[in-house]
Amino acid sequence: MPTSTEGTTHGRGEADLDQRIDLYRMMVEARVFEELAYRMFVAGLVKGTSHLAIGQEAIAAAFAAAMRPDDLTFCTYRGHNHTLLRGAPPSRLMAELFGRGSGICGGKGGSMHLTDASAGAMGSYAIVGAHMPIAVGAAWAAMERGTGQTAVCFFGDGATNIGAFHEALNMAAVWSVPAVFVCENNQYMEYTPIRSVTAVENPAADRAQAYGLDSVLVDGNDADEMFHTARSAIDKARAGGGPSLIEASTYRHGGHSRADPGTYRPDDEVADWKARDPIPAYRERLLAAGVEAQRLAEIEAAVDRTMHEAVEEAKAAPLPPTSAIGTNLWADGGSAWRN
């Protein structure tokens, strides 16, 4: 794996610069969407709970950029950014958080269960680790059907201690399925530091060998490094080279969920990580690479506009009809359990 991303991004030429600008745009989209989601939460418009990934955008953006439209994403309750960046319409995502009928899941899923199958976003799973074996299956089907798809599965550091992680990685390796497993190591479970409950220092990378996989540890806040890592793992999977397990170190700027002020984290730790915010750092890098400030400012303005419009649309969206309760349990559209 690359340690210096400059090395890899140079020599990729102009096209790459456009790609990198696109990466920047995606990170900004995720950031603005989640900042708005948070404000809507405080305003009481988002129901239930919500888990923000502010600070972790480089990972979602890099993979979304590296994936093919028909590739499949599996993520967790902390999945706004993954679902959005695969192409789910922001207004319908926001509407889902609001519990509106126009929500991406008709209001039945909520913040923890965002799914847009048409965009390859195959679901946010709210039970830790459960989606990992599911991603194995999706990749297995791609392999058997020869579709050339890959499945990318995002999970947290805490998920590395649950049984499903172990079962999924072993099966993925034995069957050599085209899957990429990405541990977004943001250093904490809900409120507990991952170090305090894990037998190894790097919860995913230090376990790769247990599945015959390479140990891959990357800076999850460096969009270039993430993109390169993502692309090589996806290319490898698509080429029949089997699964990869990637550990990307990152940090969530806020608490675990809306309920959590995150006070259990040392101030200086938070400050250090905020200083390593992936977005401003990348902006600097692009400017250094010769991108005009003007161009970035336009992108930021456009994203801001889109996302604010999305919020307004969501606000205007109707509630789901009560009749929706009984729909879409079964393929026949209903939910009857008797005749």
């Binding site: 074996p133 058997e144 099966m171 929706a324």
Partner: protein, 325 residues
């Protein structure tokens, strides 16, 4: 013409019929391929359909169900075997929280045409962790269809229907029935989920049974007939969808209803059936619905204890007769 085959053979025949018909049907499980299954229910499938479509897995029940679910999302129609139904507990999250809920949570975006096959029930002295009847676990979770056939023909017809069904089905095969034989016609067989069978008609009372309890209910009915009491026997075959039409009609006609359940007593399928029948046919009943069940205990392994725990023909007859005088 119909030939006599075993319930065991019926499983392999059903899987072969569907795998032959539809190349997206894949089959995975522990020791299912090279070994043909620990109950020898899948013998010959590997030879016939090859190691890609018939695949041995590690001992990883969560991964087995997860793999089936993910594959169902992406164009396959997987059949996954969980060797003993007791082990459904080791992957219950995948079944009850993931497989069962995903179509609903996504408001219909994700279709999950998959079948989970498992060997259910007692009678082989395997003890408390290999003998449970847990069809009520599946029945209690919205989003799962639940099938439990009692004859070789039903195994084929309902397995075919389950594999063709666009929704997830948990298919309970009964260990004690594997060696039993029944007539099966030639050619492709496809049944329909959610249809109970009237196995026997009698005017005096109705016995509602499932899987291995069906032959016992029939034997009890024949015994009762020799004593001049005529019983209707209903084989539910599916718990979800539940054929309440056939059930309620059969119960209203006789006014005396008994369930025969292998599951432990509390919250079994019989509790649901009894509640439905009493709520909807209350004024047709001459007496309360009486549930004849396994005691509410784990299953003991000693043969004499296991036999005394599960409803037997003589116990069914006794309970029925007590209510008659």
């Amino acid at each position: 013409m119909a030939e006599l085959i075993t319930y065991r053979e019926a499983v392999a025949r059903a899987l072969a019929q569907e795998m032959e018909r539809d190349e997206t049907v894949y089959f995975i499980g522990e020791d299912v391929a090279a070994a043909g299954g620990v109950f020898k229910t899948t013998t010959g499938l590997l030879e016939r359909f090859g190691p890609r479509r018939v695949r041995d897995t590690p001992i990883s029940e969560e991964a087995i169900i997860g793999a089936a679910m993910g594959a169902a999302m992406n164009g396959l129609r997987p059949v996954a075997e969980i060797m003993f139904s007791d082990f459904l507990a080791t992957c219950w999250d995948m079944i009850a929280n993931q497989v069962a809920k995903t179509r609903y949570m996504t408001d219909g975006q994700v279709e999950l045409p998959l079948v989970i096959r498992t060997a259910n029930g007692a009678g082989v002295r395997f003890g408390a962790q290999h003998s449970q009847s847990v069809e009520n676990w599946a029945m209690s979770v919205p989003g799962l269809k639940v099938v439990a056939p009692s004859t070789p023909r039903d195994v084929i017809e309902l397995m075919a229907a389950s594999i063709r069904d666009p929704d997830p089905v948990v298919f309970f095969e009964h260990k004690a029935l594997f060696p039993t034989k029944g007539p099966v016609p030639d050619g492709e067989l496809v049944g329909e989920l959610g249809k109970a069978a009237i196995v026997r008609s009698g005017a005096d009372l109705t016995i509602v049974a499932l899987a291995a309890m069906v032959p016992r209910a029939v034997a009890a009915a024949e015994d009762l007939a020799r004593r001049g009491v005529e019983a209707t026997v209903v084989d539910l075959r599916c718990l979800v969808p539940l054929d309440t039409r056939t059930l309620l009609a059969a119960c209203s006609q006789t006014g005396r209803v008994f369930t025969v359940e292998e599951n432990p007593r509390l919250c079994g399928w019989g509790a649901e059936v009894a509640s439905i029948v009493m709520e909807e046919a209350f004024f047709d009943l001459d007496q309360p619905v009486i549930r004849i069940t396994t005691d509410h205990i784990p299953l003991p392994s000693a043969d004499c204890l296991e036999d005394a725990t599960i409803p037997s023909v003589s116990r069914i007859v006794e309970v029925v007769e007590k209510t008659l005088d």
